[in-house]
């Protein structure tokens, strides 16, 4: 049994339980310009299969929170649990493994590797987790098909439209069957129509495939279309609205 399956199993075992728990997280940036308290004590719980939007004005700390949830950045204080694991008690290498297996990232600017093919981009998390090459290719191909860009597998990402590139990024985030998909303004660079298509795909992942999705957005319509919207202001949770 490979570790991906183990994680998946673990994932199943805590079905309908808490996938993510954020416990009184603060973040202070010290820079030449001075101290900025970006997060001032955030508490948050997200259940498996939930689709949560994080909304708030610019500079309110949304990205900072998402980066901490995804173990890309460390909090100044507080704890984050994913599948019950205190992620900041892990060392760098374990944290990388955790990102690889439990988290799928989607960025506003796609962050694809343009010199290589779409298929290879999607397969990259599998290369890192040392998935067998046959399974890797098959899985990456199937994800591209599910996302409606199976015919673009051998293209270079630069030759795709923004919406298509974001689909590649979504496929990549799903490669290792993560417990949670984190998306920071995934529709921010897209026009309204393409944006709602991409949102529709994320929504489908959650409703049809029971994926947990946490999405930062500026778009109130998208926030309303999620299971729950968490409003953030000045580094604090202002209110939560379930739909």
């Amino acid at each position: 049994m490979n570790s991906t399956e183990e994680y998946a199993l673990q994932n199943g075992a805590i079905d309908s339980q808490t996938v993510l728990k954020v416990d009184n997280v603060t973040k202070v940036f010290e820079s030449a310009a001075g101290r900025v308290a970006a997060l001032r004590g955030i508490d948050l719980e997200i259940k498996r299969g939930e689709f949560v939007s994080i909304v708030g004005p610019s500079g309110s700390g949304k990205s900072t929170l998402l980066n901490i949830i995804g173990a890309l950045d460390k909090p100044t204080s507080g704890k984050v649990y994913i599948n019950g694991i205190d992620i900041f008690s892990l060392d760098d290498s374990e944290m990388a493994t955790m990102r690889n297996h439990l988290i799928g990232f989607i960025f506003q600017s796609y962050n694809l590797i343009n010199r290589t093919t779409v298929l290879k981009n999607v397969a990259l998390p599998g290369i890192i987790s040392e998935m067998g090459s046959e399974e890797r290719e098959r899985r990456a191909m199937r994800l591209l098909q599910v996302l409606g860009i199976g015919d673009k597998a051998q293209y270079k990402p630069v030759n795709l439209s923004g919406g298509q590139q974001q689909r590649v990024a979504i496929a990549r985030s799903l490669m290792n069957d993560p417990a949670m998909i984190l998306a920071d303004e995934p529709t921010g660079n897209l026009d309204t129509k393409t944006g709602s298509e991409v949102f529709g795909l994320l929504r489908m992942l959650s409703s049809k495939f029971r994926r947990t999705v946490v999405m930062v957005t500026h778009n109130p319509e998208l926030a309303e279309a999620s299971d729950r919207a968490v409003y953030i202001r000045d580094g604090r949770v202002e209110k939560e609205v379930s739909h």
Partner: protein, 416 residues
């Protein structure tokens, strides 16, 4: 770790920046090929010279009077320093009586000017008993029609170099031709410049022997030499033939016992040693030049990869965000350095071999006697250079790769 996939990614990265990668590879090629070419050339030199010396008689000692040191005037004026010992017939007979000595050949040497059919040539005369040439250079051969006459005062032997000057299409002189030789000197009594001319008949032409004393000189009878060159019985050099090569040291010791350091003794072995020392020095000099070129290549790799790390910082951040370990990033960039090193070093081997031939040809074109000199490329030398180039490349990649692997993901992602 999935080495194969990592390599595929690095090769893609190198391909993406073709010009820069090609230039960096070129720097490695320059360094490694320079090293191979220079090594091959010096090994070729060394081989050639050892081969040339193998043709010399191994049993000959070259005896001269040691010049007293420190005398004379530093500006080159004034009388030449006085020899400590006069090499005359008495010295010859004392040496002849030593054990293991089979022959003693006294000689005069001087610079003279030859004239033949309106052409002039400056050369050195080596005045000995012509028959003794066979003792000094046992392999010596003469062109057809030559005759070696022991006591003919007007016979002269020309080396091939003098008879057929390199780069000219007509011979300077042929066998049987009459030529004129002029010796110019300062009369010790009057201090005036005088000259002495004589006519000679070319009795023979010597094929190259490998002995530099003979190969660029002319030879005539010692009686004539004594008179014409104003030597008054003072020899310039005495060639001593030991019974065989193994007695050379014993004979040298005996002569030293008689004359101490007032006499200069040179053996073919000593000359060879000196030349080989020179070649070794030359070789380490050229090697250090090539090493510098290789280091410049390594700095090129550092620069290239460092730039690449900076440009690809977002990509590094993305890879870390999707779970790449530090070691994955490290190996990714190191394998770029390794690829540059392997391609550069391998191409460098080929270019270096060609370069070695070009360098040697360049030298040979200036000196026809080294026409059949070829560079020597030893597999273990080439292997060392290859390994060194690849190793240095990886070493150069270390710092940029380490920097890349150490960048925290959030820092890498935030950078624009």
């Amino acid at each position: 770790m999935n080495i194969k996939e990592i390599f595929a990614l690095s090769i893609d990265a190198l391909r993406e920046r073709k010009t820069r990668s090609a230039l960096t590879i070129m720097m490695v090629v320059v360094g490694s090929s320079l090293m191979v070419a220079l090594n091959g050339m010096t090994a070729g030199f060394s081989n050639f010279i050892n081969f040339q010396f193998s043709k010399l008689a191994p049993n000959i000692l070259f005896v001269t009077s040691a010049q007293s040191e420190g005398g004379g005037d530093p500006f080159g004026g004034g009388p030449p320093p006085a020899p400590k010992i006069t090499l005359n017939e008495a010295v010859v007979s004392r040496i002849r009586s030593l054990p293991f000595v089979s022959d003693v050949i006294p000689s005069y040497q001087a610079g003279i000017t030859l004239e033949a059919g309106g052409k002039k040539a400056d050369t050195t005369v080596f005045s000995i008993d012509p028959q003794k040439l066979y003792v000094i250079a046992p392999t010596i051969e003469f062109v057809e029609g030559s005759s070696i006459r022991q006591n003919d005062p007007s016979a002269i032997l020309l080396s091939d170099r003098v008879a057929n000057p390199p780069g000219e299409n007509t011979p300077f002189a042929v066998v049987g031709q009459t030529i004129r030789a002029t010796y110019t000197f300062v009369d010790p009594d009057t201090g005036k410049q005088e000259s002495e001319s004589r006519s000679f008949v070319v009795s023979g032409i010597m094929e190259p022997t490998g002995n530099p004393t003979i190969d660029s000189a002319v030879v005539f009878n010692r009686i004539t030499g004594n008179a014409m060159l104003q030597k008054a019985g003072k020899y310039d050099a005495i060639l001593v033939a030991a019974e065989s090569g193994e007695f050379v040291d014993a004979v040298e010791e005996e002569i030293r016992r008689l004359y101490g350091n007032d006499i200069g003794i040179t053996t073919p072995e000593a000359i060879l040693e000196t030349i080989n020392e020179f070649i070794a020095g030359f070789s380490s000099f050229t090697t250090s030049i090539a090493l510098v070129a290789l280091l410049v290549g390594a700095v090129g790799i550092i620069t290239t990869l460092y730039t690449s790390v900076t440009e690809r910082i977002r990509e590094i951040g993305t890879m870390k965000a999707i779970g790449a370990q530090n070691s994955f990033i490290l190996v990714l960039f190191l394998s770029e350095a390794l690829t540059i090193g392997i391609i550069g070093a391998t191409a460098g081997m080929g270019v270096g071999v060609m370069g070695g031939y070009v360098l040697i040809a360049g030298f040979a074109s200036q000196d026809p006697s080294s026409q059949n000199m070829t560079p020597v490329f030893l597999p273990q030398d080439m292997g060392t250079v290859w390994g060194l180039s690849v190793g240095l490349s990886v070493l150069a990649g270390m710092y940029p790769a380490w920097r890349a692997s150490r960048t925290p993901p959030i820092v890498a992602l935030r950078r624009e």
